[in-house]
Amino acid sequence: MPSPGETVPFLDPLPGRSGLTSWIFSTDHKRIGMLYLWCILTMFAVGVVIGVLMRLELIAPGRTIMGAQTYNAMFTLHGVVMIFLFVIPGIPAAFGNILLPLQIGAEDVSFPRLNIFSWWLYLTGAVLAVTSLFTGGGPPDTGWTFYVPFSERTTTNVSLAVVAVFILGFSSILTGLNFITTIHRLRAPKMSWGKLPLFVWSLYATAWIQLLATPVLGVTVALVFIERLLGIGLFDPAKGGDPLLYQHLFWIYSHPAVYIMIVPAMGVVSDIIPAFARKSIFGYKAIAVSSLAIAFAGSLVWAHHMFTSGMSDTAVLVFSFLTFVVAIPSAVKVFNWVATLYKGSIHLEPPLLFALGFIFLFSAGGLTGLVLGSAGTDIHVHDTYFVVAHFHYVIFGGTGFGLFAAMHFWFPKIFGRMYDRKLANASWYLLVGGFNMLYFPMFLIGLMGMPRRYYDYLPMYQTGHIISTVGSWVLVAGLVTMFWGLSKCLRGPRTVGRNPWGAATLEWTLPSPPPHLTFLDPPDEVPSPYSYAGVKRDA
């Protein structure tokens, strides 16, 4: 006789345990993942609203809807919210939590209480970050990078914001620690390393970056806080310090953090493409190893953010070379995905559409990254809209679309319901169209010399800005359509079977939604994650 925990879907209350506390104090990895999902989507909405307002301000030169100081606060917050509260925790903390134990046939993560503690830390960090807007000397205006010496001197509320970042970093470290231990210790006995789904491999590589890079950011922002509080001056040239050291320490974390953002999305895409090509993944080992290679090589390239900061030419040369090296494992992945699609029996469902969007937009972002990684061209486009376009292609086009793909792929598994496929498809066209309209002109005005983070601009850039702002409206229309298509089906009966896509990883052997308790006994058989022979669709 199975207990209620083994039959009741995890979204529904267990007898005697219901209400908000059964969520916010839950130690169930699936519920914690859902908590993260709602939080990051809320933060995404905040970040989008700020971004749209900034675009609106930029539709014409001079003051349009806000003043210069407000604009400075806006781009700082857009960065802080999107980077620290949405993109970094996005896929690993939300989907990683929900899926990692299911995909390796484990009952939960290694440290379930630590897991809910990291969510509480995340929530605390998020609340503090938002509080920093309304308290102290006004919202921070330094940009999300908190560059010294300005961040030490501005009278705005930088102190609280860096404390928030410190706490968020702690949350991220604990999640990474939890995932690494889980993958090492809790795989089902027959789940060998060679049978891990590629999403798990990507979470593994990500977790190592979170673990190794985040402490350095933690101590760096803590130093900014201490310098503001006590005026010690380690980064202040007037007091014998050196601002360049801040940039080094900041980017030692923040460049690898870019891979915290993108690698999990690559894992999502690696799981989706074979499922909809009905064909085993091409180059399993190459994709798995390339995740680790990106994590390793990505830790050695931080100073390419500082080509114009006054480093020696030798350092510039070395970091430029290393930056090109990271392109290799990234390209390995892209080629393997495309090779997987080749001669596949392709089912063009929404998750695959978003995965294809990922490949296209990420490739554009990655290739323009080489322009920036090359020291000579970087001098010309440094701190221009070219950079803005580049990282939005990688982070929004890559991670954002990876997240959307994950949402459409695992939605039926999580909710037991299918979304409106027509709306999902329509939203994809709006999103890809709006995205390119919004960000592609930035490449052009960037090459023409439009500097980033400026509130005002010369009339020669206006055409680009107008197209871009109109693109932001199309993009928002796409987002609204997408979330409407997903959420309109949240009520009503749960009709989806165990395996609507006919995918072969372990989570699809469970009911949709999975019950509270899963894999109390590890699965007897662990199939190869991308071998579709004999896998039946169960819609």
């Binding site: 190794l212 985040t214 933690g218 001056g233 380690l234 014998g240 050291l245």
Partner: protein, 198 residues
């Protein structure tokens, strides 16, 4: 039955990963130290002379002794000698207290001599300011870890008293001990870098 799910190796593994992050956190500070030492060798030499080697050496002995007592405490628990274990843990916490009291006197002497952030003494030259800035930041961060470590050991004592940590199930105490050794280890590097640099 939660016992059945205990993963002793997993807990240890997670702890070692956490210690790794602590080393990286201090690593950032040690990196700053290395660069500034290279830039201001004379001021660092001069600054080191200002610090009291007696205080520093005493605190080094205190911390190494405390690492010894915590290691003994773990062995005592494994042999089932709970009372001895609790006494040794209490001794460790007392030693931590001694360390912090020493630190208090050291810092207050410095401050009384006009060496504190923003003072005219520290602002003599950039190098001096950086040396003492690093001194306060790094020994301060370390002191914070001493307090956290002592709290963790106190928590272990509570768990042992409750019978939740026992001769058979000593993972928590062992991990607490590991953390304490890390705190000790950091000091082993801080001591020569600040007190013996001249």
């Amino acid at each position: 039955m939660p016992e059945q799910h205990k993963d002793y190796l997993g807990d240890k593994f997670g702890m070692w990963l956490f210690l790794f992050t602590e080393i990286l956190l201090f690593g950032g500070l040690f990196l700053l130290y290395a660069i500034f030492l290279h830039r201001y060798p004379a001021e660092f030499h001069q600054g080191g002379l200002e610090l009291s080697r007696v205080f520093g050496a005493a605190n080094t002995v205190v911390l190494i002794t405390s690492s010894f007592t915590v290691a003994l405490a773990i062995s005592a628990l494994q042999q089932g000698r709970r009372g001895l274990c609790q006494a040794l843990l209490a001794a460790t916490i007392v030693l931590a207290g001694v360390f912090m009291v020493n630190k208090y006197f050291e810092w207050s002497t410095k401050i009384a001599h006009g060496i504190y952030p923003g003072s005219s003494e520290m602002a003599q030259s950039g190098g001096t300011n950086i040396f003492f800035g690093l001194y306060y930041v790094m020994t301060g961060a370390h002191g914070l870890h001493v307090v956290i470590g002592a709290t963790v050991l106190a928590f272990c004592m509570l768990r042992i008293a409750q019978g939740r940590v026992t001769a058979e199930d000593f993972g928590l105490l062992e991990n607490g001990g590991l953390y304490w050794h890390l705190v000790d280890l950091v000091w082993i590097f801080l001591f020569p870098l600040f007190y013996l640099i001249s």
